[in-house]
């Protein structure tokens, strides 16, 4: 099985290695959390600030949301790990179908 623990003679060393890996991962997660908070703040400020027009603000905050969600998916939900090929395929297929639906509702419902 691909996800079993690494075969090491000494379980002690093994666990130290794993602890180190997972602390490292935790650090990435803290960084991405900080970035997510930062992106949220930027989005709220962009809306609160009167100097930008809607033509700038709307695409800008949507971009920020997309970036934030990518952090959420790849770091918090571990999509960056191995064994997430099928989840990624189906998630992106869902995103595609959803995007087409949104596009249609924004463009061809006008009455």
């Amino acid at each position: 099985m691909a996800n079993q623990q690494p075969n090491s003679e000494n379980p002690r060393i093994d666990i130290e290695y794993r602890r180190k890996k997972s602390t490292e991962e935790m650090r990435y997660q803290i960084i991405s959390f900080t970035l997510m908070i930062f992106l949220t703040l930027v989005a709220f400020f962009a809306v609160g600030y009167d100097g930008f027009s809607g033509w700038f603000t709307v695409p800008f905050i949507i971009l920020l949301a997309v970036i934030q969600v990518i952090f959420q998916l790849y770091y918090f939900m571990h999509m960056s790990h191995k064994g997430h090929e099928a989840p990624a395929l189906f998630l992106y297929s869902g995103v595609l179908v959803g995007a087409i639906t949104l596009l249609a509702f924004l463009t061809i419902i006008w009455w």
Binding site: A86, S93, G94, T101, A104, I109
Partner: protein, 623 residues
């Protein structure tokens, strides 16, 4: 050990089926329930044809006619075709990939019971103040205006059974991705398994829009919402989009498994490898993908504008390409093969011209400008009956004959099978071919009667006569089933003699654990490969060992029952005092049984190696 196969009393058998999590038994449940609704939907079709047999007929009133035609469409699509397809998927797919069970046996059972209770709920409308009468598409302006509870039955019933279908789809996907036998790569999977895979993905993405659409309808009708009420700022077109974003993939959900069944049948009875296997897989995936890009071709006349209409028209026509690839591959499979015209093969051969006729009218309808002429006429009725009956129903009949021995261990009578086939084929073309012309002559869809002297008399009469042929054919099939069951002549592993895929390497019906030892798959048509090398069965991929099995459970039945009860409460909430309490009780039943499932651990049980070795049906091979 034979304790697993003891003779049971009638009550014990019923209890076994109520609690079963075995995919083969769930398949039988789907077959029975789907078959029942198929007959109900068929009776409704007969009433429609009797009403339209002669001009100015008053066999049924106009209001009742609306209910009948709505229920005919809804029943046939959601409660007959889908579950019957699920029956074959459940019965065959896990065997074809060499799995002992599906990934989520408990959810598999839950999926069935949700569908069943949803279907029963919908049909109870006949006895509780009238069935839905806004057409199977239930377009919002009409369904909001519809009086009584008919459309509420539609929305709530489909919501419940739709949840079951979604669960089933996820279950099949995980099974195929995670549980294939050693050596069963994706490109060695039989075509029926491939189509199950693609269809399950379509279910996963197409049913949520239906869920949302039905919620919007429920909110508008029962909870004072304004989604479709233009006086409050709502927009009725939203329902049409939501319905067809679901509805168009839905027709591919129906037809792709049919393609899968026919692919198996063509290869088996031509005794040749399926021609162009990889292009068949590619075409299946492509049809599934394009299925999401074309929904608005149902809405050309709503005024989407020329640009949207053109895009959707072109996308629709593009689907003809992968479909054409499939048609040619089937013909090339037969070409040069040593063909045996068994009953399933007859259906398969007849399917090609029938379905192509439906495909051609489909391309005609895809021409947006021309569609303004065809829209809502009998031309459309003829078109979709050619693809759905000529494709899906033919496949269901073919599959029933083909897989009957695998599901029940006994062969349907070939002679009666061929009579069914010929009567149905003739009846089908009599009924629907003429409807193309009725439509072109201006006969509208969904009308309750027509006037004399407009040239519709002969066509409609012929159409009705054809419907009776199909009814007789179905009755003969039922007689065949009863006779076969009573005679009960047992057959061996490979009763057709030409089985190619793994399911035919197993006894008929297979033992409840399917494979004593998981098979080693060495190529496409795994069983055929072994037979050609003179071997009797599959080479095992593992030594004989304990087999882990899930426990039976009554909880899926109770969860579904709770929603069924809650739906009544939701519907009568406004006008009766007991509505709200019933709604709450129903939800409590559901949530309580879900909590029980999660609180009580269920680790399943093991069949021990020694018991397996004693099983004398097939001796375990020591690897």
């Amino acid at each position: 050990m034979s304790t697993y196969a003891q003779k049971q009393g009638f009550g014990a058998t019923i209890w076994d089926y109520l609690t079963t999590v075995d995919h083969k038994k769930i398949a039988i449940l789907y077959l029975i329930a789907g078959g029942f609704f198929f007959i109900v939907g068929g009776l409704e079709a007969m009433f429609i044809r009797i009403q339209l047999a002669v001009p100015n007929n008053d066999f049924v009133s106009a209001g009742l006619y609306n209910e009948i035609l709505t229920m005919h469409g809804t029943t046939m699509i959601f409660l007959a075709a889908m579950p019957l397809i699920f029956a074959f998927m459940n019965a065959v797919m896990p065997l074809q990939i060499g799995a002992r069970d599906v990934a989520f046996p408990f959810l598999n059972s839950l999926g069935f019971w949700l569908f069943f209770f949803g279907g029963v709920f919908l049909n109870l409308s006949w006895f509780l103040g009238g069935a839905p009468d806004a057409g199977w598409t239930s377009y919002a302006s009409l369904s909001i205006a519809s009086e009584g509870h008919g459309v509420d039955f539609y929305a709530l019933g489909l919501q419940i059974s739709g949840a079951g279908t979604l669960i089933g789809g996820i279950n099949f996907l995980v099974t195929i991705i995670n549980m294939r036998a050693p050596g069963m790569t994706y490109m060695r999977m039989p075509l029926f398994t491939w189509s199950t895979f693609v269809v399950s993905a379509l279910i996963l993405f197409a049913f949520p829009p239906l869920t949302v659409g039905l919620f919007l309808l429920i909110f508008d009708r029962m909870f004072g919402g304004n989604f479709f009420d233009h006086t409050m700022g709502g927009n009725t077109i939203i329902w049409e989009h939501m319905f067809w974003i679901f509805g168009h993939p839905e027709v591919y959900i129906l037809i792709l498994p049919a393609f899968g069944i026919f692919s198996e049948i063509f290869a088996t009875f031509s005794r040749k490898r399926l021609f162009g296997y990889s292009s068949m897989v590619f075409a299946t995936v492509l049809i599934g993908f394009l299925g999401f890009m074309v929904w608005a071709h149902h809405m050309f006349t709503t005024g989407l504008g020329p640009i949207a209409n053109s895009i959707f028209a072109v996308a629709t026509m593009a689907i003809a390409v992968p479909t054409g690839i499939k048609i040619f591959n089937w013909m090339f499979t037969m070409w040069g093969g040593s063909i045996k015209f068994t009953t399933p093969m007859l259906w398969a051969v007849a399917f090609i011209p029938s379905f192509v006729a439906g495909g051609v009218t489909g391309v005609m309808l895809a021409v947006a400008a021309a569609d303004y002429q065809y829209h809502d006429t009998y031309f459309v009725v003829a078109h979709f009956h050619y693809v759905i009956v000529g494709g899906v129903v033919f496949a269901l009949f073919a599959g029933a004959h083909f897989y009957w021995p695998k599901m029940f261990g006994t062969m349907l009578n070939e002679f009666l099978g061929k009579i069914t086939f010929w009567l149905f084929l003739i009846g089908f073309h009599l009924t629907f071919f003429i409807q193309h012309f009725l439509g072109l002559m201006g006969m509208q869809r969904r009308i309750v009667s027509f006037l004399p002297g407009q040239g519709f008399e002969t066509g409609n009469l012929i159409s009705t006569v054809g419907a009776f042929f199909m009814a007789v054919a179905t009755i003969i099939l039922l007689i065949n089933i009863i006779m076969t069951t009573v005679k009960n002549e047992r057959v061996g592993n490979d009763p057709w003699g030409d089985g190619r895929t793994l399911e035919w390497a197993l006894p008929s019906p297979p033992p409840f654990y399917n494979f004593k030892q998981l098979p080693l798959v060495r190529g496409l048509d795994a069983y055929w490969l072994e037979k050609m090398e003179g071997k009797k069965g599959m080479t095992p991929a593992e030594p004989l060992g304990d087999i882990h099995m899930p426990n039976n459970s009554f909880i899926p039945f109770v969860i579904s029952l709770g929603l069924f009860v809650a739906a009544f409460g939701a519907m009568y909430r406004a006008e009766t005092a007991w509505g709200i309490p019933v709604l709450i009780i129903g939800l409590l039943i559901t949530l309580g049984s879900m909590a029980m499932r999660s609180i009580k651990d269920d680790h399943g049980y093991h069949i021990h190696k020694e018991d397996l070795m004693d099983d004398d049906d097939n001796k375990g091979v020591k690897a």
